[in-house]
């Protein structure tokens, strides 16, 4: 049981590390977000099995849906952004710099 949870957490941490260690490509961030969502999904499912509650599994389906939509939107933004700036390297995305 614990191993499953640890697996989910490990996946989640990998996703987080991917988020703030990536310097080059913004697609990796999107991938990391997906990875985190999947890790959460695994957690949901593990706990739903553990607690014998169907709600977690249903919720993970919802999360999958949302993740798909979100990655679609993210990729669309990415394409537009590439057209405008000519680059998708995260190092050069700093227009919010104070």
């Amino acid at each position: 049981m614990v191993r499953f949870i640890l697996f989910g957490v490990a996946l989640f941490l990998i996703g987080i590390l991917g988020l703030f260690l990536t310097r080059k490509n913004i697609i990796i961030i999107l991938m990391s977000v997906e990875l985190m969502l999947l890790a959460i999904n695994i957690n949901f499912i593990v706990f739903s099995v553990y607690l014998d509650d169907l709600l977690g599994q249903i919720f993970s389906l919802f999360v999958l849906t949302v993740a798909a939509a979100e990655s679609a939107i993210g990729l669309a933004i990415l394409v537009v952004y590439y057209r405008v700036k000519g680059s998708i390297a995260t190092l050069f995305i700093n227009q919010l710099k104070g």
Binding site: L19, F20, T90, I93, N94, L96, G98
Partner: protein, 676 residues
């Protein structure tokens, strides 16, 4: 009519000051002169009613302010002292208004000048007709302010600026004295009204104030502070330095303020507070000695001055010394009499000096004048009459008061009386000497002036001549006319308005009648002798003063000359030991160390810098990189979760504080520049 004495100069000041630019120079001059003339008329009636008929008038108006048990009304007291002061102030003020309408003709700021003159008259009248010390203090400060404004009238001249600042700062010491006396009067009497204070004096005669471990006689303390005020305003020894410098102002101002009226405010204060002074014999001695020293000291300086107006200024200082020591000898009526006489002949002297200065193209140095007797007959006559009155020539105005003062000094059996007599006698000799010197150098001796100046010399025009003529009449006759009224034996003119504890003043007046004849004649004869010596010296041995030999005699002479010409080095000592020290302290310590130093550091600048620094750090935090923001979010969440796990319900807030501090630490620790 009584209150219009106060309001007329105020109306004049407001009209001329605020509307002067619309009604023009001539209109505003006319208004100021007309209103001050009306004022003189009113105060003449007032003198008749209050002085001659003996109706003391008290007008209590509405409340001014009340704090606790202190309840101060706008009150006006018209007694004989006030009436005499009013006559002096309004007559001189009127004549000076008239005079300056011609003297200042062509000055672009004539309206401002007239406004200031009226303002001064207003404050002076406000001071003399007040019925309580608070209102008196208002007028007292007001005349100081007007004096400052008028000395500084030609504000583009740096000397005028310096003189004005000096006048107001030196006067401030005196003002502090008056303020302290007000506070101590409040402490002792719980009121500031003259009537209440003078009524209960008898019951606080033995009252002592404990200051730390000293028992101080309350009335002596009050008198001391009052006298300090007098020393400041009336230019007595110690705080006299501002008066000669104040001659930088226009000459009519010198006549009105620095000879006739404002400088006598200190003497007026002493006379007004005479009831209090009478209970403090210690202080009366001090007043006598300081006054006598001033009379002597200013006389010796006057001999060695070369500036026409400065000589007269020192003469004023000297005459004020006579008034003050007369007060110290409890002869307030004589002091008042001398005040009035002095106002007339000193105003005359200043105004005729103004006429001379006007004639010789604004030259004030007597050494560059001379020979004006043929060119300026009117000014010379006025000057001569003024000088004779000042010297105490028999049967002129000064004779009646100055000689009485000296006689009173001699008829006093105490040490200070004789002290005052001899110093006063010497002062009278000095007076005769410098008056004669003034007349000789300016009018009689050969001229040292330029040809162009001499060609342009003209006598005073009518508006300047008229005041001279009127004041000459005053200088001749005022003393004779008013002698019996003011200081005649058994006169009831003053009534209770002047304090006598033991009627000492009257006794002394009687005593003075029985002095040996040579003592009574000594001042007059001495003055005669000294003026003849002066005339002889300057007509026969004038060249000797300009000998530049290196002989022992010349060196000694030079030392004596510079000692007196530099005013006994009073100014040098003050500048070196007081002014410079205070200025250095003010610049280095209070300005550089405190104002622009510590206070700036912990105050505005420090605050600005701190927040600037902080905001720089916070701004640097906003790198704009997504991964940085994510890092912060995640670290924060982790830390927050960590502290939540403690589950200290009560200490949750503390946990939050620790969390916030941790976040702040990141603010400082995080330097994004390495990403660039």
């Amino acid at each position: 009519m009584y209150l219009s004495v106060l309001t007329l100069p105020l109306i004049s000041c407001i009209i001329v000051g605020f509307l002067g630019r619309f009604i023009g120079t001539k209109g505003s001059t006319f208004i100021a002169v007309f209103l001050s003339g009306t004022l003189f008329l009113f105060s003449s009636f007032l003198f008749y009613e209050v002085g001659i008929c003996g109706d003391t008038v008290v007008i209590d108006c509405f409340n001014w302010f009340s704090i606790g048990s202190l309840y101060v009304n706008w009150g006006f007291l018209f007694d004989t002292v006030t009436a005499v002061m009013l006559i002096v102030i309004t007559s001189i003020s009127f004549l000076v208004h008239l005079y300056s309408s011609s003297y200042m003709d062509g000055d672009p700021h004539l309206t401002r000048f007239m406004c200031y003159l009226s303002l001064f008259t207003f404050f002076m009248i406000c001071m003399v007709i007040s019925s309580n010390y608070a209102q008196l203090f208002l007028g007292w400060e007001g005349v100081g302010l007007s004096s400052y404004l008028l000395i500084n009238f030609w504000f583009t001249r740096v000397q005028a600026n310096k003189a004005a600042i000096k006048a107001i700062i030196v006067n401030r010491f005196g003002d502090f004295g008056v303020m302290f006396s007000l506070v101590s009067i409040l402490y002792v009497f719980n009121t500031l009204n003259f009537n209440s204070i003078f009524l209960v004096l008898e019951f606080v005669a033995e009252y002592y104030i404990t200051i730390y471990i000293w028992q101080v006689h309350a009335l002596t303390l009050i008198s001391f502070f009052l006298f300090l005020g007098c020393v400041g305003k009336s230019a007595q020894l110690g705080l006299h330095t501002w008066l000669p410098d104040a001659m930088e102002g226009p000459t009519p101002v010198s006549a009105l303020i620095h000879a006739a009226t404002m400088v006598t405010a200190g003497v007026f204060l002493l006379i007004r507070s005479s009831h209090i002074l009478e209970y403090s014999s210690t202080l009366l001695i001090l007043i006598t000695i300081v006054g006598a020293l001033t009379a002597f000291f200013a006389g010796t300086i006057g001999i060695f001055q070369n500036d026409l107006k400065r000589v007269i200024a020192y003469s004023t200082c000297s005459q004020l010394g006579y008034m003050v020591f007369s007060c110290g000898l409890s002869n307030y009526s004589v002091a008042m009499f001398h005040l009035m006489n002095h106002a007339f002949f000193k105003a005359l002297l200043f105004l005729s000096a103004g006429a001379v200065i006007h004639a010789v193209a604004d030259e004030q140095d007597m050494r560059r004048m001379g020979g004006l007797i043929k060119l300026l007959p009117l000014s010379f006559s006025a000057f001569l009459i003024g000088s004779l009155a000042l010297m105490g020539f028999p049967y002129t105005t000064g004779f009646y008061s100055k000689d009485v003062i000296l006689e009173l000094g001699y008829s006093n059996y105490y040490f200070e009386g004789l002290f005052a007599y001899w110093l006063g006698l010497f002062g009278a000799g000095c007076t005769a000497f410098y008056s004669m010197r003034l007349l000789y150098l300016t009018f009689i001796g050969e001229t040292n002036s330029y040809k162009r100046v001499i060609e342009g010399v003209h006598d005073a025009p009518i508006r300047m001549a008229l005041p001279l003529i009127i004041l000459s009449m005053g200088s001749i006759f005022v003393g004779y006319v008013f002698k019996d009224l003011f200081i005649g034996l058994g006169t009831d003119f003053w009534g209770n308005n002047i304090g006598y504890v033991n009627n000492l003043g009257d006794v002394l007046l009687l005593e003075a009648e029985f002095l040996p004849a040579y003592i009574k004649l000594l001042p007059v004869l001495f003055s005669f002798f000294v003026s003849l010596v002066c005339f002889y010296l300057y007509s026969e041995y004038h060249h000797i003063f300009y000998l530049g030999t290196d002989s022992q005699f010349a060196k000694a002479g030079r030392f004596i000359y510079s000692f007196f010409n530099k005013k006994w080095f009073f100014d040098a000592v003050y500048n070196f030991y007081i002014v410079r020290v205070i200025l250095t302290f003010g610049y280095n310590t209070t300005f550089k160390l405190l104002d622009r130093g510590i206070i700036e550091l912990i105050g505005p600048t420090g605050l600005v810098r701190t927040f600037d620094n902080l905001s720089m750090r916070v701004r640097n935090l906003q790198t704009g990189y997504i991964f940085n923001y994510i890092f912060f979010m995640i670290v924060s969440v982790i830390v927050y979760l960590y502290f939540l796990n403690f589950d200290f319900y009560i200490f949750n807030s503390i946990a939050f504080v620790i969390y916030a501090m941790t976040i702040l630490q990141y603010f400082y620790a995080f330097d994004t520049r390495k990403f660039k």
